[in-house]
Symmetry: C2
Subunit: 421 residues, 2 copies
């Protein structure tokens, strides 16, 4: 089995101020084409250390993918180190120089010595074009065929070069027709342990395709992964398994792959011609924001009233003062009244309210931090749900409240008829 390692280059990667997202992105691309990644390394801008890291990695694997150090100021360092590790010379690459000159002429800039150095590349290399920047990438070879593929460190430049040039080259070079093909089913409103329970036997039995369950931010994803020698065979393996999983989980699955809960909600509301509004207290705009950032939101969302202070709940949402005095702002009664107020003031088909104690202060024995009420009102239906989020910071409690509200909203939409409102 062919294998590669990744080396990301730049002293800034070692100072604890920057996450190395490039190697994560490359790792995902390699997993997808079924190329084994044995290790990854980050080294500073130091030619000796870089050359030694490259040389020892070349003893362990078939090729190395590097990012960074190709910019006009430090390029000599990376290219020198790569040339040394491979035992090749650096030389002026005429086509790259010509391309650079024509590009600079286009924007009326002169060719500087720094620019010129960017066209100096290892002898015999394959050039990887960089449509988003001036430094080209390249794949250079050792006499025995092992290689170093060098890409720029700017994520936008690197990502385009990876998907458009390097991945196709790697597939071809290693004759990789297969890889890992995955499909993710997103569930909401079912605890991870319950998801596990329902598909536990599939877990145990299946080697290929495999199933992985991942809970994150209150949602649970079920990923089906097929390792195939030819990608066109993936559907044959994944389709029957997906069918079984869907039967076991049911309506808890709200979407797949790139779907989001907000996206599905906006789409379903639009399809049914329904409008939406919110009355938020402790979530303070976070729920509205979750919908607004979703494409298509303007078709369904009319507005929100964020009533952080009690008298705004009264004045803007029509929550009766007596109700607030009798039950408090964090109560089922207030949540219902807020939702009803939003339904009325915002002239929408569905209104959702959130009121709770996100902390760190404000909790009592009866209503501890994490107590949240979510109300829902439509023309012929009103309901309220009560939560106690025991763990987590103020920010966690607010995020969980938003997710709970979205799940309630999604449930409500699924039960509403298309012609209502």
């Amino acid at each position: 089995m062919p294998s590669v390692e990744i080396v990301t280059i730049g002293t800034e990667l070692l100072l604890g101020t920057k996450l190395d997202s490039n190697s994560v992105h490359i790792g995902a691309a390699l997993a997808e084409i079924g190329l084994d990644l044995y290790a990854k390394h980050s080294v500073g801008d130091n030619e000796d250390r870089l050359a030694s890291t490259l040389s020892s990695a070349l003893e362990r694997c078939d090729g190395i993918i590097t990012t960074g150090g190709l910019g006009p100021t430090v390029d000599d360092l990376t290219k020198e180190a790569i040339a040394r590790a491979l035992g090749v010379q650096l030389e002026l690459h005429e086509p790259s120089l010509a391309a650079l000159i024509s590009r600079l002429a286009h924007s009326n800039r002169p060719l500087t010595e720094n620019n010129r150095r960017q066209a100096v590349l290892p002898a015999g290399c394959v050039v990887l074009e960089n449509p988003n920047g001036t430094a080209p990438g390249f794949i250079a070879f050792r006499a025995d065929g092992r290689f170093v593929a060098a890409m720029p460190g700017v994520p936008r430049e690197m990502r385009a070069m990876l998907s458009d040039s390097l991945v196709p080259w790697l597939r071809d070079h290693f004759s990789l027709r297969g890889g890992i093909v995955s499909r993710t089913l997103h569930t909401a409103g079912i605890p991870e342990s319950e998801v596990d329970r329902r598909i536990e036997d599939l877990f145990r039995l299946q080697e290929n395709p495999k199933i992985a369950v991942l809970a994150h931010g209150g949602l649970v994803d079920i990923t089906l992964m097929a390792k195939v020698s030819d990608r066109s065979m993936a559907a044959q393996l994944l389709d029957p398994l997906e069918k079984i999983v869907r039967e076991r989980i049911g309506v808890g699955i709200f979407g797949s792959d790139t779907d989001t809960l907000e996206g599905v909600i906006v789409c379903e509301l639009a399809k049914r011609g329904l409008t939406l509004g919110f009355a938020e207290s402790c979530t303070g705009g976070l729920l509205t924001e979750a919908i607004v950032r979703t494409p298509g939101a303007s078709e369904v969302l009319r507005g929100s009233i964020i009533a952080y202070a009690n008298d705004i709940k009264e004045a803007q949402l029509g929550v009766p003062r007596e109700l607030l005095e009798a039950h408090g702002a964090v109560s089922a009664e207030c949540a219902i009244a807020m939702a009803r107020g939003a339904l009325d003031k915002l002239h929408v088909n569905i209104a959702i309210s959130v009121t709770g104690i996100a902390g760190p202060a404000g909790g009592t024995a009866e209503k501890p931090v994490g107590t949240v009420y979510i109300g829902i009102a439509s023309r012929d239906h009103e309901a309220v749900a009560h939560y106690r989020f025991f763990l987590g910071s103020r920010s966690d409690i607010r995020s969980r409240s938003v997710l709970a509200a979205l799940i309630i909203l999604q449930d409500e939409i699924l039960t509403m008829k298309p012609t209502e409102g």
Copy 2:
């Protein structure tokens, strides 16, 4: 100069699904105490590859810091690899076993064989206690004194162990009294090029303390860094430089180090006894959310009206229909009317409105995507600002609008008298 390398362990770090935040966190801690980090590596759960990575790193540096692979299921692998690389034996560490037994007894759980294995450690190691989990960390030594310090991979466990046990040990072991001490001044409302222009000469002249300017998300940070052999000498180097920078930049500096613009705004409003409300259109809750997530927000923020649809601007904010028809919702006139409406409906001292076209659709030749108006109203002052954010996605334009609104708000607060309202 002593130096170390980091090795993070776990196949999941290579699959492109997980950012390695542990090594970033450790990198920052090492920079702070002035210990050189030469390189960092991630390797999968494979004993041979791990042992070989550790052995070759031990030839280059004085010590290695690892994270991951100490859990009850895979611990043998990491510990075996470390023991092999160092040439020491693994043996049962009685005090760790006793601590584990007493801990399990406390929560009424029996000692399993897996638990017992967690108390097997390299001979002669220093144990690093883990108050947040069951797997202890350790520092094990090669005959020549070079070491491997192993910590768990769970970030919460690792971070506590790093700051409470490993960093003090490293300081002591390498007699590090110095390090890099930095101070960051945050500016808002001044373009990066202008910040550069005003302090350019300091940049060039200064070797120690050094200055770095970093623009991020529309704000510009100025970081002053002093490399000192004794941390108590840092103020002597940083104080005079900070004074000069503050003179050059003036009121554009809104805070330092852990200060945030929202935090400073909430604090200044509370100090002056002023209340705040928003009327948001294209930002859809994002501006309100920025304030709500700030500690102390409930003292100053009363509420917001998110008027995404035009008739909500009319009904809830009192924007005249004729105004909307004559000028459109994205106009200076509408922004002022929205701010005035919020001031009135929410009974606040300062109201800010945002209306604009965040795209991707909705732009015209006259009002292209990126056109944003921000209005401000207080009892005796009204103003509007017009922006065209040319670059960036819908999400970028919305974030930039929020930042612009916060900067306007901060400017307004600075000019208001404490007793107003």
